[in-house]
Amino acid sequence: MPVARFLLRRLAALTALLVALSFIVFSLLHVAPGNLVKNLLGPRPATPEAVAAIRERYHLDEPFLAQYAHWLGGVLRGDLGVSARSGTDITTVLGDRVGLTLLLAGLAALLAIGVGVPLGIRAAQRTGSLTDRLITGSAVVGVSAPGFAVGLLLLYVFAVMLGWFPIYGTGEPGLDRLRHLALPAVALALGTGAMVVKVTRTAVARELQQDYVTFARSRGVPERVVRRTYLRNASVPVVTSAGLVVAGLVGGSVLVESVFAIPGLGVLLADSITYKDVPVVQAITLLVAATIGVTTALVDLYTAVADPRVRRATVGHGRGRGAVGAVADPTLPDASLPTSALPDGSLPGGMPGPGAGGAA
């Protein structure tokens, strides 16, 4: 059963990733400067008994690996530990904020995909045209502009100058909240959306150059049908980039939340870093990594279902930043020509071939 084996392998990879990441994150606690016991004690007097109790409770006298095992065991039981700053249970601290970040990231993802995919398709269909150059040009700006800088500009123009949107806070749940989250979502969506545009354009342009498109068009297959075919084929790399989208949104949300003072996970992370609240930092990092890992696994599942070749061969290394840079040939030489270029009455199966340029 190749699908099962494929999925098992991906699952094993995901587990390995999470273990590795959790290990790195856990090591942070030990690399971090500052005295953990002192942090945990807080304002309480540092009596020898209190110190001993804390060392006992957090297993600080045990070897590093044993501590890691304790921590990992707790995480697996859903116990993320206690915040070193406030002394509250991390699970409840996170619970209050997850919703907000999810809403923001969800809105941004909706924008990035909802706008990015159509634009990418459009650009690929008109390769080399003014539309294409405008779209790819703005995509370059979008990829280059960090969300926090864009957020600040948006804040200045739309909140301070025009007064259309509120500056701070998250508002009441419902429509008011959407209004508060509109600018942050746009700022967050810009970078990832630009990435989506690039990936989509490359994928669609590559499909458009395939022989089957040329052939279908020369046979007079309705463009509607041709489009459906090549778009479905182009969907695989686009869906594969979902991992990139999630990673981009997660990294960006830390900064964007802090620009707009949204009390989500990102701001919590930034604050926890400032106050060296390492347990909270560990918890958030792990949560994020798990989210990305699960997304990647789902994407793999999709590609396995959509493309049988993936199941059979080893999975291609299409992900990562390198994959985005792939540039399609800017001038489609003959894929767009044949429908009009072929003289009437020519054999439908005839290859439009390299001579198609001599149509007149």
């Binding site: 990879a13 390995a16 990733l17 590795a20 990441l21 790195i24 994150v25 942070l28 690399v31 971090a32 400067p33 040009g137 370059v140 700006v141 990829v143 280059s144 502009a145 960090p146 926090f148 800088a149 864009v150 600040l152 500009l153 804040l155 200045y156 301070v160 500056i167 990673a247 997660v250 990294g251 960006g252 830390v254 900064l255 802090s258 620009v259 992370l269 930034a270 870093i273 400032t274 060296k276 390492v278 930092v281 990092t285 994020v288 990594a289 990305i292 890992g293 990647t296 290394h317 992900r319 990562g320 930043r321 390198g322 840079g325 540039v327 040939d329 800017p330």
Partner: protein, 289 residues
């Protein structure tokens, strides 16, 4: 369009080729290159020696204040001078990040691609694992928790950027490793390091250069994000990310304090990306860029 040029080596022929090549550069890319040239000057020449002069009594003033065309920030520092001085922090670090990660990329990527075997297996597993991690987030966490200054942050970014460089170099080396000219060096009995250094490396160099350029843009964006959070810089440094976060509270009194450095980040990163994209497009078309 792709007329094969005779490869003459005279100065005149070289010049002619260079001009012909320059004519094919789109206007936007040319403007971007000029902007980068200007920024490079800012990095090398100390243009704004008074950037750090504080005037706490003056405080934040709007743009157009006498003597301060872009106003002053919360500490009374001139926004224009501070932004010009910030170019150094914005460029030097990312360039070092790109150089350092590419150095790792070349060494490990060439070894993995040419030698194969267990080296390749180890390096590839490492790359797979690290590429799956959220780089920016890890950078924030590591730089924040470990602390340390500018150069520690640069080091963290070098490590986080290297996997994609390793993968790119390895892929390029793999493409060349079994071509006849490399096989022939083996027949000649050249030592492996010499094959890699003298024969493989020159052939991946164009790819390496364009990748580095794109990495600079990405590192600039990442580093300014870190400094925006106050990581990797001292609070009084001249840095665009830091200016943004300081200026955020001055949006009503002097918006230029945050808008100008924000635009600076966006413009410079876009310029680097435009030039990089242009070069890599040429590379794909098989022209020497």
């Amino acid at each position: 369009m792709t007329t094969t040029l005779p490869t003459e080596t005279g100065l005149r022929a070289r010049l002619a080729r260079a001009t012909r090549r320059l004519r094919r550069v789109p206007g936007t890319v040319a403007v971007a290159a000029l902007l980068l040239l200007a920024v490079a000057v800012l990095v090398i020449v100390p243009v704004a020696p008074h950037a750090f002069d504080q005037d706490v009594l003056l405080g934040a003033t709007p743009a157009g204040t006498p003597g301060h065309p872009l106003g002053t920030d919360g500490l009374g520092r001139d926004v224009l001078a501070l932004t010009l001085a910030g170019a150094r922090s914005a460029i030097v670090g990312p360039v070092v990040v790109a150089l350092g990660s590419m150095l790792l990329g070349i060494v490990l990527g060439t070894l993995a691609g040419y030698r194969g075997g267990w080296i390749d297996a180890v390096v590839s597993r490492y790359v797979d694992l690290t590429l799956a991690m959220p780089a920016l987030l890890l950078a924030i966490v590591v730089a924040g928790v470990v602390g340390g200054g500018y150069w520690i942050t640069v080091l963290v970014l070098v490590v986080l950027f290297s996997p994609s460089d390793i993968r790119i170099v390895r892929g390029a080396v793999l493409q060349h490793a079994h071509r006849p000219y490399i096989e022939s060096t083996r027949v000649l009995g050249l030592p492996a390091w010499r094959v890699m250094w003298r024969h493989l490396l020159p052939n991946v160099r164009p790819l390496v250069l364009t990748t580095m350029l794109l990495n600079i843009a990405y590192a600039l964006v990442s580093m300014s994000g870190l400094t925006y959070l106050g990581l990797g810089v001292s609070p009084s440094a001249a840095d665009w990310g830091l200016q943004l976060s300081d200026g955020r509270d001055l949006l009503w009194t002097n918006p230029a304090a945050s808008v100008v450095p924000g635009l600076a980040i966006i413009l410079v990163a876009t310029a680097v990306n435009l030039v990089g994209d242009h070069l890599s497009e040429r590379l794909d078309r098989g022209e020497d860029a």
